[in-house]
Subunit: 138 residues, 2 copies
């Protein structure tokens, strides 16, 4: 069997109609071939450098936004002034470690949110986020 390092990323790009450029493939590989991940633009830019993928920070931002619009990523906002991008796009929730700024998925099936008021007239629910903020200590 041949090694096809970019296959998953390539397929994802194709499936959403984004031209598979060197940097999109490189970033896609980093994002999609390492299990579920939560990264900031800065994080990903650093990882790209280490992995030898040459890409500017501006392009990392643009790419993350394009991937998010295309539904390949999900943006998670838990802290003012910093966006996280989550490779897990299915319904789920998050633990947020306040001391380290890191995120951890909570499977959606596991959580039950009851008695939410109905969406106000003229609107519909696009997403329900549950964020469990954790502090260090007992």
């Amino acid at each position: 069997m041949t090694v096809r390092p970019y296959t998953k990323a390539l397929d994802r790009l194709k499936s959403v109609g984004l031209r598979p450029t060197r940097q999109r493939l490189g970033l896609g590989k980093l994002l999609f071939e390492g299990g579920d991940r939560h990264v900031t633009a800065e994080d990903l830019h650093g990882q790209a450098s280490q992995a030898g993928v040459r890409v500017s920070l501006a392009t990392v931002y643009n790419t993350l936004n394009q991937f998010t619009e295309a539904g390949l990523l999900r943006e998670v906002v838990v802290e003012a002034g910093r966006s996280y991008f989550d490779t897990n796009t299915s319904a789920h929730h998050h633990f947020f470690y306040e001391s380290t700024g890191s995120l951890q998925d909570i499977p959606a099936e596991q959580v039950r949110v009851h008695n939410l008021p109905a969406a106000p007239a003229g609107t519909s629910v696009s997403r329900v986020d549950v964020i469990v903020r954790l502090r260090a200590g007992t």
Copy 2:
């Protein structure tokens, strides 16, 4: 009965040991005497101007942060790069209107979150936020 326009704000400031300066009183009055509110620093600065309370944007930021640290406000993060401050500091959740960027409280008693995994070892839950994101349309 005498009119005591700053009473509520004054009491709150005293209760947390913040010196009641002209601008803190002015901002406090705007914040605490208008029912539950969700404001950004920019919002509040604008409202202060209109109300004739002269205060710089920097001081608005500083004041919002001090009030939040003192427990008079609660910071709500729903959008990247923008912080909302909520005058309702009791446990509750939020509707977020994506199209307008506005927030609406959902009373906590009304919502039941079941089966949340326990806080990981070495941590404890500081807060559980439920954000119901609404889009315009049905």
